[in-house]
């Protein structure tokens, strides 16, 4: 037998479910990538706007403000259950987590439905001039993330409601919440650029 110096880490916690988890950091970088994509789509919008003579083109009917404004309020309202669920995850409070996730799922599904109505009522399509292309590019990216994020919330809610709620659920809830905040942030940008800006 010989002896050697060791640094014993066996007392360290396993399976972090907060910001220190590897997956959390991975998700942050994924959102940086998606955010760069979104930002470049906005940059393309402004580039085309700057090179166009008239923007939006004269014959284009602007989207109505009612639905997007309702959606904005709805999105802002979802911040409450999102915060509650991620607080519940921190405190490992399973019943509160499930309750807030159910509320969140319902609100997100309503948002998807409203968004669908908004898209189908839009008076122009992607093939209507570069304006249509640029706007629908933004709407398309938003649609993708809205649907994926909602699906994620619904699946997580179902799994958590079936129980038992595990550390994996807590971590996933927090990550899902972060994603959802991100979706809200970009929706606000779309609201400003697509819905408000052409009117001022």
């Amino acid at each position: 037998m010989s002896a050697r110096a060791v640094l014993d880490v066996s007392a360290l916690p396993t399976a972090e479910h907060g910001r220190r988890a590897l997956v959390w950091l991975g998700q942050v970088w994924m959102l940086v990538i998606e955010g760069t994509m979104f930002a470049l789509a906005f940059a393309s919008y402004f580039y085309l706007r700057a090179t166009a003579d008239v923007w939006p083109p004269a014959n284009v009917e602007l989207p109505g403000l009612a639905i997007p404004t309702v959606m904005l309020a709805l999105f802002l309202a979802t911040i409450v259950p999102t915060r509650i669920s991620s607080r519940a995850a921190d405190e490992e409070d399973a019943p509160r987590l499930v309750r807030s996730m159910v509320v969140l799922s319902v609100l997100e599904l309503v948002a998807v439905a409203l968004w669908w109505v908004y898209l189908s009522r839009l008076g122009f399509r992607w093939y209507d001039y570069a304006y249509g292309s640029a706007v629908w590019l933004l709407l398309g990216i938003h649609t993708f993330h809205l649907v994926v994020s909602t699906a994620e919330t619904v699946v997580l809610t179902t799994l958590a409601a079936r129980g038992p709620v595990t550390r994996g659920h807590y971590l996933a809830t927090k990550i899902d919440g972060m994603y959802w905040y991100w979706v809200i942030g970009w929706f606000i940008a779309i609201y400003l650029v697509v819905d408000l800006l052409p009117r001022v």
Binding site: A3, A5, A15, P57, S133
Partner: protein
């Protein structure tokens, strides 16, 4: 927490026992299906490198065909259309299927070893990234063989690439190849960043990170910000062609220039994405073979970071400050002047290290020397075209072809070969023949210059690039023949390398753990490393840990050896934070890669491919994350409170 080192008794039996348990936890499954399921970063890194080298060879065959065609005026090896396709395929293959993936493969193989951990942070994502890359490459070549290859150049400028001017499927195939390779690059980038940020072993603070790890970090961050641009723009191109959007269609209010902006937002950093890991390899090689810590370590690191930032900074500056297209003269002038500063700093540090050390001249170091020579020539021709009047004269001539091959081969491929000769013994356990390496080196150094140096004069004489033939009275014949004959030397060098690699498998001398007396951690484990990388996870106390290790340098204990557990450390001070469980082998990344491929290819023909692809991807995605083994995974196990209930 900061753990206090303690001394514990060890014995040979105990070590054997631990090795057995670790192998059971970390070993890869066997057989063909096992190969598809493996998540070992070494297996995946090796695959990346071998696949990329295969594409390098294919790109080389295409280059040979072009040089055969251009060897004399009016040759008939290739028609004009074939020539267009082949230079597009060659450029796209070299950039997207060889140069970037080969660097990714080196990072995937080396980074976990160099930072002293057992796998990358997201092992299944890693497997997925490889399958996406190789399926994209296969798809690209199947399309080419079915006569649907692109012929619009490797940057597919609009409006040429719009359906009005390119009615076939070529540009769609090209755009989708981009989607494949950039998706895989992004996946690699995320896991490299997270692995470097949180899985460095105890004591490896950012200041002590090996330079190659720094280079990998800079590269990964560049990929994260650059690649979305090309994914977005290639999707916009496909949409213009497929569903009648008008992003690039001037008649409908679009802008052809938008394509160039988006493309170069990616394209300019792309060159550094190839170049920066290569610089990292050079630093490692120089340090090892001069037998002393690199001179000016902070300056070298700062230069890598500065190069990475300038790759974007200048572009952004350009975009907001002017309205001229990205090929504007002032832009290039500024770039080449600024970018040459950090590169110059690094070259200075390498020379100072060699000068003050005791250099041992080995094949890896020879390739470094070749790199410096070739790269300086490339830099000089770069300074020449940086001046606006010369650029106007030389634009789109063979002078440019010569210049960017000097930069890409000099700055990327030669250091890569140095790195391969340096690290292959670690990966295979066998040394490569030193004599073969020297033949390879001389054949390439001479052959490369014979091929590309005359192209400078051809360019000055006015020979345009991308032409499939020329008239005898131009007088370009002799220099072209010279350039083409050099290809024989380059091919001979490549053959020597392949033979040396194959022979080393059976006849090579055993490498041992550390054939080079190198300073970094990976040389402390066996060659090839075991599935779990390190029996005893090392800790470090300097930037050259193996040169400064004390007898009482502690190893890490208390990381479980019966499951895939790794130690997570804090970013800034590299002290232990927690233990985390990594994912094990799974078939679902492969299945997901297949369904993703179906979606990507379908969407070339029919916009419904996008939603259908998404729906197809859902089941494997769910299966991937499904908690199959609930009881064995503490992340998924019920909490203590519930277990008690």
């Amino acid at each position: 927490m900061t753990a206090v080192p303690t001394a514990v008794p060890t014995s040979h039996e105990e070590e054997l026992d631990r090795a057995r348990r670790l192998e059971a936890a970390w070993g890869s499954p066997h057989g063909l299906v096992g190969a598809l399921r493996t998540v070992d970063h070494k297996a995946i890194g090796r695959r990346y490198v071998l696949t990329a080298l295969t594409f390098f060879a294919i790109g080389g065959v295409l280059a040979t065909l072009m040089r055969l065609q251009l060897r004399q005026p009016g040759a008939h090896v290739l028609s004009a259309e074939q020539y267009n396709q082949i230079f597009t395929m060659h450029g796209s293959t070299m950039m997207f299927l060889f140069a970037v993936p080969v660097m990714e493969g080196m990072m995937i193989y080396l980074v976990p070893l160099l930072v002293g951990t057992r796998n990358v942070a997201f092992p299944r994502l890693n497997a997925f990234g490889y399958f996406i890359y190789v399926l994209g490459g296969i798809f690209f070549y199947v399309a080419f063989l079915l006569h649907a290859g692109p012929d619009v150049g490797w940057f597919a400028y609009t409006p040429l690439s719009l359906s009005r001017f390119s009615p076939g499927k070529g540009p769609d195939v090209w755009a989708q190849l981009i989607t494949f390779t950039e998706l895989s690059a992004l996946v690699v980038a995320v896991e490299i960043v997270v692995t470097i940020a949180r899985q460095r072993t105890v004591g490896m603070t950012p200041q002590r990170m090996p330079i190659f790890v720094w280079a990998s970090l800079v590269t990964a961050v560049m990929i994260i910000f650059a690649m979305p641009a090309i994914m977005l723009s290639s999707s916009m191109l496909i949409m213009d062609r497929l569903v009648n959007t008008h992003f690039f269609d001037v008649a409908q209010g679009g802008s052809a220039l938008l394509w160039q902006h988006l493309f170069w937002f990616f394209g300019h950093p792309e060159v550094y994405i190839i170049f920066i890991p290569a610089m990292g390899m050079v630093s490692e090689i120089v340090e090892t073979f001069s037998g002393r810590p690199i001179v000016g370590r902070p300056a070298v690191i700062a230069s890598l970071a500065a190069t990475g930032t300038l790759g974007f900074g200048l572009w952004v500056h350009h975009m907001f400050a002017t309205t001229v297209p990205p090929v504007g003269g002032s832009f290039f002038t500024a770039t080449s002047i600024l970018i040459s500063i950090p590169t110059g700093v690094q070259i200075f540090c390498w020379i100072a290290t060699l000068w003050t050390g005791r250099p041992r001249v080995t094949v890896p170091l020879l390739f470094v020397a070749a790199f410096i020579v070739v790269f300086v020539i490339g830099g000089l021709s770069g300074v020449m075209i940086a001046s606006v009047p010369l650029d106007l004269q030389l634009h789109d001539t063979f002078f440019i072809v010569a210049h960017f091959h000097y930069v890409l081969i000099g700055g990327g491929v030669l250091p890569l070969f140095g790195g391969l000769y340096y690290w292959i013994p670690k990966a295979t356990g066998r040394l490569l023949s030193e004599r073969a390496g020297r033949w390879h080196f001389w054949l390439w150094l001479i052959g490369f210059n014979v091929v590309f140096f005359p192209m400078h004069f051809l360019g000055l004489a006015g020979m345009p690039r991308r032409v499939y033939t020329y008239q005898p009275d131009t007088g370009w014949g002799p220099l072209n023949l010279l350039a083409s004959s050099g290809v024989l030397l380059v091919i001979a060098g490549a053959v020597v390398f392949v033979v040396a690699l194959l022979r080393s498998r059976t006849h090579g001398a055993a490498a041992g753990d550390d054939p080079w007396r190198a300073p970094s951690l990976e040389w402390g484990t066996s060659s090839p490393p075991p599935s779990y990388n390190y029996l005893d996870l090392p800790t470090v106390r300097s930037a050259v840990p193996r040169w400064t290790a004390h007898a009482d340098q502690p190893v890490i204990a208390g990381v479980r050896d019966d499951v895939r557990e790794v130690l997570v450390t804090r970013f800034a001070d590299a002290q232990p934070d927690h233990r985390a469980r990594l994912a094990g082998p799974s078939i679902w990344p492969f299945v997901l890669a297949i369904t993703t491929t179906v979606g990507f290819i379908w969407s070339i023909f029919d916009p419904w491919g996008v939603p259908i692809g998404l729906i197809l991807c859902a089941p494997p995605l769910i299966a991937w994350f499904w908690p199959w083994t609930r009881e064995r995974d503490p992340r998924r196990a019920p909490l203590a409170s519930e277990a008690a209930a």
